[in-house]
């Protein structure tokens, strides 16, 4: 993945993750739709499918989801130096904000003005995430694969309604994917064998 890029590109990479991270309230998955919007839709640097692969990889490693995903995006775009710039961009905003807040956090926590702004913003974050989910869900359904749609619906019900452990869902879906691929390959082989004997 090592690619030679200009200094401006690294700055763009850094600035993208910096601004995304600065607005990622709620942590975890909120940054994923935002990154997707920036890197897949806006810059068109990464394909939709590859982005989802990167998220799956980020999810299966320990640590902070936002950091993991940005490491992967940086590495994908410009190898190790790229990963360095995206980690830096992701970590810097919370580092600065919390360091500043730690000086006067009691006042911050009790400020009605701050909590009013944050309350309004949480509705905005929900809207951004909803918009991204609609698009991603539509992309999966548009694949017209019964398998993909079923996996999506069942995983959603499992995690949202039944609170099933994310690790278990990841494991089962990966195994189901391998099994369906195996079935497809066996079918192909049988067809080939049939074709030859005929």
């Amino acid at each position: 993945m090592e690619k030679k890029k200009g200094f401006r590109f690294y700055i763009q990479l850094f600035w993208s993750t910096f601004t995304l991270s600065a607005f990622t309230f709620g942590g975890g998955y909120v940054i994923v739709p935002l990154m997707r919007k920036r890197f897949v839709e806006h810059y068109k640097w990464i394909e939709e499918k590859e982005m989802l692969d990167l998220v799956a990889i980020a999810q299966s490693a320990p640590g902070v989801m936002a950091v993991n995903t940005s490491i992967l995006v940086g590495y994908r775009m410009a190898g190790f130096p790229g990963a360095f710039f995206t980690i830096f961009g992701t970590v810097l905003p919370p580092l600065i904000i919390i360091a500043v807040i730690s000086f006067f956090y009691a006042a911050f926590r009790e400020s009605p003005a701050v909590s009013a702004v944050l309350r309004g913003m949480s509705a905005g974050v929900a809207a951004v995430v909803a918009d991204a989910i609609i698009k991603m869900g539509k992309n999966i359904v548009d694949e017209k694969s019964v398998f993909s749609t079923l996996v999506m619906v069942i995983s959603f019900l499992a995690v949202f309604l039944f609170d099933v452990d994310v690790k278990i869902i990841i494991l089962i879906c990966a195994l189901a994917g391998i099994a369906s691929m195996l079935l497809r390959r066996m079918k192909h082989k049988n067809n080939d064998a049939g074709g030859k004997s005929a």
Binding site: G63, Y105, V125
Partner: protein
Amino acid sequence: MILLKLFWSFFLVGLFSFGGGYAAMPFIQEQVVELNGWLTMNEFIDIVTISQMTPGPIGINAATFVGMKVSGVLGAVIATVGCVTPSCIIVLGLAYLYYRFREIWVIRGALNGLRPAVVALIASAGLSILLTALFNGQVESWLGISLSQMDIAAAVLFAVGVFVLRKFKVNPIYVMMGTGVAGFIIYRFVIG
């Protein structure tokens, strides 16, 4: 010495917090409150609250907060570096393997299963965020919902946000800033 200890504690937090988000919370609490006594339980709850109110993942926030308290800015930086180091090593290893082996059918099959699952996980997290926003953190699941408790202003902001995003494809950051300003006006002067 204390810096080394900070680094190592948050290295462990980074290494063992699977599942993202608040899954890391019990582990941070163990390291920071119980084992090392860097924060009291109340201070720990404060940092969780602040994490909900500010951008940034809770792991990084806790690392920065504890680091600041224990030994200032240098401590904050060391603890944060400690927290992301395990991710860097493991994720870069996985990324290397992915780009090397993604054409192999077993890997392709596994990824085919994971892609729709990832969309489902994001959808579930998104719905929890929506519930928190619409009910001001009062309801955690569909079971406890009663429409009379719903924050109408938040529902309107949400609906307008989705409409603007889908219809005009604006930058999401403007939507968040807009709802922030609207929230300030509504909750500070109109309702609150």
